[in-house]
């Protein structure tokens, strides 16, 4: 049951988008998010959709797979849509009981829903096309200038790597503990919310204890392998910008300017 959860799911294929430098991809995604909040009319939305469509096409990721990423936030999108429909003031079109629906409300609701969808598709494209390792490497490089104001860039990246490494291990362990407790009569699936929350205690306590023990052993193993922080550390893979990134940068720049103009 828990094994279905994948965080930062990476879709492993060889495509130009996958081969781009993670630093470039992170910056491009950020620009894309900004652009989503700059646009307001129909034409601009078509531009954005065309752009993201082109990226998906080039990345060789099936559209179905990208859409699936929207499932967990589907309720949120519906909710935002309804709120916008009913609570936007404007020229009254239909009204019943305490609700009124206006033309402005309908257009705003559609735009809002599309904005949310594009937001999620845009960010999930980043994780779909970039392996977790590359992503943390990219973040570390991008945060490097912040070191001067005391931001522990290397430590943050290391923490992310370790978290990603241990997510499947801890999920597996949760599954195991759950089964062990169920075998002894624990019931995780019935009763009201309070009862269910209480039932989680015998699951969480051993899980936390084991996580701390693991952390302790891991720290020892890391020290035994000469880990002493980011200082003087080199990397197996050095990030390098390629011509691919230059082309990508050109496209993103054109797109961004177009968004501002439209």
């Amino acid at each position: 049951m828990l094994r279905d959860i994948t965080i930062g799911q990476y879709y492993s294929v060889d495509s130009p988008v996958h081969r781009m430098d993670p630093r470039f991809k992170i910056i491009a995604s950020m620009l894309f998010l900004v652009s989503l909040f700059l646009i307001e009319d129909m034409l601009a939305y078509l531009l954005v959709i065309a752009f993201i469509g082109a990226v998906i096409y080039k990345s060789k990721i099936p559209v179905k797979y990208v859409i699936r990423g929207l499932k967990p936030v589907f309720m949120l999108i519906i909710f935002a849509f309804l709120i916008n429909i009913f609570l936007t003031p404007g020229e009254e079109k239909v009204s019943f009981w305490i609700f009124t629906v206006s033309i402005e409300g309908i257009t705003r609701a559609f735009f809002m829903a599309f904005r949310l969808i594009l937001l999620i598709v845009g960010t999930s494209l980043l994780t779909l096309c970039t392996s977790p390792i590359e992503l943390t490497d990219g973040i570390e490089y991008l945060l490097n200038p912040m070191k001067r104001i005391g931001l522990p860039a290397h430590e943050l990246a290391m923490m992310m790597t370790i978290a990603l490494r241990f997510i499947p291990t801890l999920l597996e362990e949760t599954d195991k503990i759950m089964k062990a407790q169920m075998a002894r009569g624990a019931d995780f699936e019935s009763g009201n919310i309070m009862k269910r929350a209480k039932a989680l205690i015998p699951l969480l306590v051993p899980l936390f204890i084991s996580a701390f023990r693991r952390a302790d052993e891991l720290a020892m193993a890391m020290e035994a392998r000469c880990y002493r922080g980011g200082e003087g550390r080199t990397r197996l893979k050095v990030l390098k910008y390629t011509s691919l990134d230059a082309i990508g940068a050109g496209i993103v720049a054109v797109y961004f300017v177009a968004c501002i103009i439209v």
Partner: protein, 276 residues
């Protein structure tokens, strides 16, 4: 390679003083040697291994690794580079999400240039026969494979000596076999000094020397044949002997002219054939 003199160690000092986990250990391990340390739980064998790598420093006495005293804090990374350590739980010693990235972790910490790291990673993975898995995620590997990746991670640092702290305790029989074969290969072909801590007696039969620990002391020492022939003494310490040795011992006490120094099935079969 490793020299311990009059080694005492306790985990906590002061008011809540714990008894000594190591109670006066003297030992010397030569370069290229394959030493197995056995002993039951709490005999101090794991503690001893952690002193060999500078994770703990001795309460009294001293331990010198390749000419460097472990209490010398400036040299601690040099010691850890020369004496690598493989731990019991394979899950808790892999750091990265991809096998080759994990193997690269040690050399990266040493600050080597990236071509050198690439070269060492490929070589280390090749030595433990895990090259085919270099782009895989660790949680998709079996226990034995994970442990081999952990060994590759140490090998990539090019240590002179590797300390194995019960690396097979959490593995299934086939995983154990893989790991033990890898360890033997490292000693024979790569000329790495091996200190292997275990409580599986059959893993000790190919060693150059076996040390038996009990209550923080080395109580027996010798070649596998010498140590395992003392069946009754080992049993008094709560230890087993390899099955073949046990059978030989029983036959001998029953009055047959069988040596009790047999360690492998072939040796015993050869002797039994000679009887008739």
């Amino acid at each position: 390679m490793i020299k311990a003199e009059n080694l005492y160690f306790r985990y906590t000092e002061g008011e809540a003083e714990t008894p000594f986990a190591l109670n006066g250990v003297n030992l010397e391990i030569k370069e290229g040697e394959f030493v197995v340390i056995i002993g039951h739980n709490g005999s101090g064998k794991s503690t001893l291994s952690k002193l060999m790598n500078g994770i703990h420093t001795p309460t009294e006495g001293r331990i010198v690794i390749d000419g460097i005293d472990t209490s010398n804090e400036d040299q601690i990374w040099e010691i850890r580079k020369r004496a690598g350590m493989v731990f019991q739980n394979p899950d808790n010693q892999l750091v990265a999400t991809i096998v080759e990235e994990d193997v690269a972790f040690g050399p990266e910490n040493l600050g080597l240039p990236s071509e050198e790291i690439r070269h060492r990673v490929d070589e280390a993975l090749d030595t433990v026969h895990m090259s085919a898995y270099k782009r895989k995620a660790p949680h998709h590997l079996s226990g034995g494979q994970k442990q081999r990746v952990a060994i590759a991670g140490i090998l990539a640092m090019k240590p002179k000596c590797i300390i194995f702290d019960e690396p097979t305790a959490m593995l299934d029989p086939s995983g154990r076999k893989e790991v033990v074969q890898t360890i033997e290969h490292l000693n024979k072909n790569e000329k790495i000094t091996v200190i292997h801590i275990t409580h599986y007696m059959d893993e000790a039969i190919h060693a150059d020397r076996v040390l038996v620990m009990d209550r923080g002391k080395i109580v027996m020492e010798g070649t596998p044949k010498q140590v395992f022939s003392k069946v009754d003494e080992l049993r008094a310490l709560g230890l087993d002997v390899p099955q073949v040795t046990l059978v030989s011992h029983k036959l001998k006490t029953m009055g047959y002219a069988v040596s009790d120094e047999n360690l492998t099935v072939d040796e015993l079969v050869a002797e039994l054939c000679r009887l008739s």
